[in-house]
Symmetry: C2
């Protein structure tokens, strides 16, 4: 069974719904999570907030926090996961922010990514540095997010 | 030059910004349009509205229209393209809705898709029937949307 299938079955069995926010991955996580026919029963939607501007506009993320971090930090990831869960009224919210390259913020490695999962009781944030070309980084980051989501689902 | 590169250059030269709404393609169009480094200057964001519920919640699409069409029609595509352009304050809005399969609304072919492009003066809607597996339909539909966007940009 593919990872997408396992996630789908797990959510379905537990009667849980999901929403995502993506930045660097640009929609690829959402694409993965909707691969399975019938995903609309568990996957409610995603916001791809590609510019700082849209992060601010859609989620009212303070502009100074965004400028300081260029939208890529543990805090931003946690904030977005929590917000999308509430906005789309789902059980679980996931967010992915990062620098896909070829450039990143000064002093931070290209491929640095922060992932957050939020439910009613908890927010879980983790980070990773993914290597490869821009496209590889984006695809690998989305797959990592799906993998972390699955690990999280198994604990429920 | 790749199609994504051509679109990026064209938007950049004309100083235009873009936002998308996707249903059946699940984020793949957005992924394509953010392949190029620096895309955040032209691509402001995307809403992946995978469920009828999220179409209604985020865009206030009348529930009876959604139920009648299952969210897949010329009218829905036009409405979404216009709304996302206004929501994200961009020059251009694009939407893609469709039945990626393996099932579709009764009497409608799997792979049926409606694409709309909206700017300040016009809304342009077109439709196509894309064949192949669910994943092929989704990827081909997203590529078709990008192709139509490029043809549209050339007319500006």
């Amino acid at each position: 069974m593919t990872l997408e299938n396992k996630i789908f079955k797990n959510l379905k069995n537990k009667n849980l719904t999901l929403a995502t926010v993506e930045s660097a991955t640009g929609g690829y996580l959402s694409y993965l999570l909707t691969k399975i026919p019938g995903s609309s029963t568990i996957f409610k939607g995603s916001f791809v907030v590609y510019s700082l501007d849209s992060k601010n506009k859609l989620f009212k993320l303070p502009k100074n926090l965004l400028q300081e971090t260029q939208g890529v930090s543990k805090e931003v990831a946690a904030y977005l996961a929590e917000k999308i869960r509430k906005k789309l009224k789902t059980n679980i919210g996931i967010s992915v922010v990062g620098f896909a390259g070829p450039t990143a913020k000064k002093g931070i490695k290209v491929g640095t990514t922060f992932l957050a999962i939020s439910d009613k009781e908890r927010i879980f944030v983790t980070s990773a540095v993914i290597d490869g070309s821009r496209d590889k980084v984006r695809k690998k980051t989305a797959k990592l997010a799906a993998e972390i989501l699955y690990q999280y689902l198994k604990t429920l």
